[in-house]
């Protein structure tokens, strides 16, 4: 077994797996899960296209094209997630196609972002003597662990979601959204497009980012052990924005309900 392959595939699939599970819980009561399959296919095809274009993309903006494209993908996921969370309290949430498309595009974008790294890792074995079988089998183990974690998240949150009227899953997705923005911001700092500074704290001793719990906290809550002031501000700003968007639609549609026959 190749431990590298297990770890890489697990780390890259964990985030997408958690996002798929949370969206399935959010959409569960009113929508079918049929959108997941086209989203996976679209994400996989997109990953191949991105890998094919990466030699060019990498040289953009004086060799920081990767950061700019990846950050854009994550800002886009954030915006779509924000729209979906706001829609949750509106009558439009009943429009199956609209909601499923939003969720599907989000998942596809997340897969493109992570999938390209897995593809590049495997492309390294193309000319090697080691062959594909061992790394592929090891990667499959990583994939299965990633999916299992996604499954655990799904089955833990689903009964709670029904009891709490989706409050918990919306809260978790709000953190996921903020995590997306925080990661994107970090990428732009890596590209020197945004100013950097010394971290404002270091919680690595408390919860190391590379530990299993740390990785999960990173995927679900956007956990960052050494954030800069800008990153922390943008993270909490995103949480406030997402919460405000949800509260606003909820208040608006609750207030129009008596005159609305829905």
């Amino acid at each position: 077994m190749l431990l590298d392959a297990v770890i890489i595939v697990l780390r890259e699939t964990l985030e997408a797996g958690v996002l798929i599970s949370l969206l399935l819980v959010l959409l569960n009561t009113r929508h079918s899960a049929l959108w997941v399959l086209p989203a996976l296919v679209l994400g996989l095809v997109g990953s191949f296209v991105y890998m094919w274009q990466l030699p060019a993309v990498s040289t953009w903006f004086d060799y920081v094209g990767q950061e700019v494209v990846n950050a854009s993908l994550q800002y886009l996921i954030f915006i779509l997630l924000l729209v979906l969370l706001a829609l949750r309290s509106s009558p439009w949430f009943a429009k199956t196609e609209l909601v499923a498309s939003l969720a599907g595009v989000m998942v596809a974008l997340a897969i493109i972002r992570e999938g390209v790294e897995i593809l590049l890792f495997y492309s390294g074995f193309w000319h090697s003597d080691e062959g594909f079988i061992k790394p592929l089998l090891s990667g499959f183990i990583g994939l299965m662990i990633g999916f299992s974690v996604g499954g655990i998240v799904y089955y833990l949150l689903l009964p709670l979601a029904e009891k709490l009227g989706g409050l918990l899953v919306r809260l978790v997705l709000t953190f996921v959204a903020a995590g997306m923005v925080s990661q994107a911001t970090q990428l732009l700092m890596q590209a020197d497009w945004l100013p950097t500074s010394l971290p404002i704290w270091n919680s690595n001793g408390l919860l190391p980012e590379q530990s299993l719990v740390g990785t999960l906290a990173y995927a679900v809550l956007g956990y960052e052990s050494t954030p800069t002031a800008l990153q922390a501000t943008i993270y909490w700003g995103a949480i406030i924005l997402a919460t405000a968007a949800q509260l606003a639609t909820q208040l608006f549609f609750n207030s129009v309900k008596p005159t609305d026959s829905q």
């Binding site: 431990l3 590298d4 030699p55 790294e117 590049l120 000319h127 890596q190 590209a191 010394l198 980012e209």
Partner: protein, 118 residues
């Protein structure tokens, strides 16, 4: 009226000045440090860097296969394609040691950045 226009232009001038100051700060070129990847190893495996300074790290991958430069301590992660280069800005950093690794070759590609007060 004239008075208010003067005030207006003064405001614009100070805004422009502030923007120029901010831009000039951004435009100060960060010191460049090169890091090579050869046979899935980092050369040099240890990099000395001054504290509280932003660094432009140029990673040159001489291998035919891609590598991913990654560091939890530096909060950095970037794919470096085979036979190509990548730019990663790091810091400003407090004095200390910051390990990094090649995620695609965890067993061999290891290194660290040592940050010292000047």
């Amino acid at each position: 009226m004239i008075h208010s226009r003067q005030q207006h232009s003064l405001l614009w001038r100070s805004l422009l000045l502030a923007a120029a100051l901010l831009l000039s700060q951004v435009a100060v070129a960060a010191p460049v440090i090169e890091l090579h990847i050869r046979d899935h190893l980092f050369y040099p495996a240890e990099l000395m860097v001054p504290a509280n300074t932003k660094i432009k790290l140029v990673v040159i991958n001489e291998d035919a296969t891609a590598e991913e430069f990654e560091s939890y301590e530096l909060n950095r992660e970037k794919v470096v394609l085979g036979n190509s280069r990548a730019v990663i800005f790091i810091g400003p950093l407090a004095p200390g040691e910051y390990p990094f690794f090649g995620e695609f070759n965890l067993s061999t590609a290891q290194g660290k950045i040592i940050v010292k007060d000047e």
